[in-house]
């Protein structure tokens, strides 16, 4: 895999000059500590992931889903990582790296709040002060996560510019970094941003596929025919795919948020979806050249998804590259189908998934379910779905959205809402 920060034409370092020395310093630290295990960095990281994070996570057979889809469906249970999502893998890695680098302040952005809570936990665990930038709109959508960050001792700074979601939070965190670059490390939450972030975050997350690969061999005696993961920025996606990229027999599906529609309203600068891989075009956003949702002038569009963790106008450069080369297949699932899948997994497997994760299950249902649309079913007989996170954080919005949408499979929502 690339170490120069380019994935084909994607990637690179498109950032203000003031940040470049910090990025060079980070590149050096990434090569020494992460790639070279200097001072036993990776050993300490793995130990902490195990003892603080609860790894390894199981690869669990989903009995009822296997029956429903008439194939072996296995779940990689990242929802069981401490904090309830795969996000800790990266946050713990970066906060630990910041300590090795001698940085004594952490900043991070968050959308759904999963990366923010993971970073806040890691910072409390490793005793580093932490400030999280979060869009005002997301703060309102994700109150419990805001409390969790504060309980762990982090400050939460609301971002009011623009629409107040992840895109604005990233921009604002970059501004903070440009101001306090000498003593601060920016823990970016996905495989996005300037090099070395996309590679480094992938490396911290690739523990998912490393474990899954071994577990698949143990349980099934072979590698899976396909791996499914939802894709927003792409950190759980790259984590679930990384170790399988060289296994030609394993198909890789990145499931994006199709939102309410794939249509784009150029006039209003709005894409009512977050499907950058499917509908986006090449451009430069937040430090990297990649696939982004933009209008014909190159202005970034407002994205949308029922799941705030997927609600982003860009995607990691390596994932965009793997889609271009055909190694990864990008598909998308809209809000309604994701919500239906959220309820189905809750009822059939006793797992309430994050709305992000539900998109991956929505795709499984579409191509393999009883009402399969006839879309090509390339998933094979042995499917691994990455359960990137649990849905506790989404309960409020899932209930509200279900009430508004009239989802067949859902329980009677009046019990939750009192009829609203």
């Amino acid at each position: 895999m690339s170490t120069d920060g380019k994935f084909g034409d994607y990637g690179g370092q498109y950032v203000p000059e003031a940040l470049m020395p910090a990025i060079e310093e980070l590149e050096d630290a990434y090569e020494r500590y992460v790639l070279g295990n200097e001072d036993g960095f990776m050993d300490e990281f793995r130990t902490r992931l195990r003892e603080f994070g609860g790894r390894p996570t199981p690869l669990q057979r989903a009995d009822r889903l296997s029956e429903r889809y008439d194939r072996e469906v296995y779940l990689k249970r990242e929802d069981l990582v401490h904090g309830g999502a795969h996000k800790l893998n990266n946050a713990l890695g970066q906060v630990l790296l910041a300590k090795y680098m001698g940085k004594d302040r952490i900043i991070a952005e968050t959308g759904a709040g999963q990366h923010g809570t993971a970073t806040a936990m890691a910072c409390a665990h490793l005793d580093v002060p932490c400030e999280i930038y979060m869009g005002e709109r997301d703060i309102n959508r994700q109150r419990p996560n805001v409390f969790r960050m504060k309980l762990n001792g982090s400050e939460v700074n609301p971002v009011t510019v623009g629409r107040g979601t992840l895109k604005e939070a990233i921009s604002e965190t970059m501004r903070d970094w440009a101001t306090n670059v000498e003593d601060t490390h920016y823990v970016i939450g996905s495989v996005v941003g300037p090099h070395p972030f996309p590679s480094m975050v992938r490396d911290f997350q690739s523990v998912i596929s490393e474990e899954a690969r071994t577990q698949a061999r143990e349980k099934m005696g072979r590698l899976p025919d396909s791996v499914l993961a939802c894709a927003g920025g792409g950190s759980n996606t790259m984590g679930a795919f990384a170790e399988f990229v060289d296994d030609d027999e394993t198909a890789l599906y990145a499931v994006e948020a199709g939102g309410s529609t794939l249509d784009v309203d150029e006039e209003a600068g709005v894409a009512p979806n977050s499907a950058s891989l499917t509908t986006g075009s090449e451009g430069i956003l937040h430090g990297a050249r990649t696939t982004i949702l933009q209008d014909h002038d190159g202005q970034i569009m407002e994205s949308h998804s029922i799941s705030s963790g997927l609600d982003y106008a860009g995607v990691g450069p390596e994932l965009a590259y793997l889609v271009d080369t055909g190694r990864v297949t990008a598909v998308n699932v809209g809000d309604d189908d994701a919500l239906t899948a959220f309820h189905r997994l809750s009822q059939m497997e006793g797992i309430i998934p994050a709305l992000e994760t539900a998109h991956a299950f929505g795709y499984l249902e579409r191509v393999a379910g009883p009402d399969a649309t006839g879309e090509h079913d390339g998933l094979g007989e042995f499917v691994v779905v990455n359960v990137s996170g649990r849905g506790d954080k989404d309960l409020e919005s899932a209930i509200e959205e279900t009430y508004e949408r009239d989802i067949d499979i859902a329980p009677n929502m009046d019990e939750f809402t009192g009829g609203l």
Binding site: E17, P21, G162, R175, A178, T179, D263, N332, V333
Partner: protein
């Protein structure tokens, strides 16, 4: 007149405004007022939706300008409509430069909504970007040159990624101004100084743009590091008064760049519904104060060995 010539007769005063803030017509008047106030070069911002190097003042200017309908195409019309004789520099983010000219190349593909009407039944198709992507920054630079822009400043394009833009600028005779940060030293500084032309934008302090009540002491150190390079040094980030301008020039700057303090006047006028003519007068008068401050700075400059 080239950018470097603008520094020939004493310190250059380089004001910045976002083009089209808050609307096209007023903005034309405002920019022209800067020239009357003594501008030697004018930096015109072409607004980008994600201005990661800007503080709140210019972020808000960008929002107003975009809401007022500013686009790259309108921006070039704006430059043609401007009645000023000093050289103009376009300040914008790389994606707008990189994407310019793509709409023609892509034709109607962005509008193929019929095929995309269902979010639930469409897989990614291979994107047909190959040809379009290879055009890079050239069409933008060609257009900029044709409307009379003399140079570009691109805050999110470090020297490492600037090869294609530098080439296009050379082809069409534009200067490419680089920003030197307080953290820019050693090899990085050298690499950048190999690519820079016109003037070098010395970032007075870390952080984002925005008017300050005091001037940073990082400026002197930055100017010292640049002393050996034979290119004009203009200092920006935080300058808001004639007194600042004077001090910055006294410490060795060849020019001063002022944005947020001027944008504040535009913002205030917009919020209070002030007559654009009165706003223009205020801009002209702050411009004059800044220019006079800069000139005063030269006369008090301690004698020091001249650049060779």
């Amino acid at each position: 007149m080239s950018l470097e010539d603008a520094f020939a007769d004493g310190p250059a005063f380089i004001p910045y405004l976002a083009a089209g803030d808050p609307d096209y017509e007023s903005s034309l008047e405002y920019v022209e007022a800067l020239e009357r106030g003594g501008a030697d070069i004018i930096e015109l911002g072409l607004p980008f939706s994600e201005p990661i190097a800007e503080g709140p003042t210019i972020q808000n200017a960008v929002v107003r300008s975009l809401e007022g309908g500013m686009t790259p195409t309108r921006f070039f019309e704006f430059v043609e409509d401007l009645d000023v004789s000093v050289p103009l520099v376009c300040m914008t983010y790389y994606n707008l430069i990189y994407r310019y000219g793509e709409s023609e190349a892509q034709g109607t593909s962005d509008a193929s909504s019929a095929e995309r009407s269902s979010a639930d039944c469409r897989a990614a198709e291979p994107r047909d970007d190959g040809e379009a992507a290879s055009k890079g920054p050239r069409p933008f630079v060609e257009k900029a040159a044709s409307v009379g822009i003399e140079g570009l400043v691109v805050p999110d394009l470090p020297a490492e990624e600037s090869g294609p833009l530098r080439e296009a600028c050379d082809e069409f005779g534009l200067d490419l101004v680089f920003i030197v940060a307080p953290t820019t030293r050693g090899e990085r500084l050298e690499r950048m100084m190999e690519q820079v032309s016109g003037y070098v934008y010395v970032q007075a302090r870390l952080g984002t743009t925005g008017a300050q009540t005091d001037v940073s002491d990082q400026t002197g150190a930055s100017l010292d590091r640049l002393a050996g390079y034979d290119v004009p040094k203009a200092v920006g980030f935080g300058i808001s008064s004639g007194e600042h301008a004077e001090r910055i020039v006294r410490s060795g700057a060849d020019g001063i760049i002022v944005g947020s303090a001027l944008v504040d006047i535009v913002a205030q006028g917009h919020e209070r519904g002030t007559d654009p003519e009165a706003v223009a007068d205020r801009l002209e008068s702050l411009a004059r104060e800044l220019k006079d401050g800069a000139v005063a700075g030269t006369s008090q400059r301690p004698p020091h060995p001249e650049r060779t």
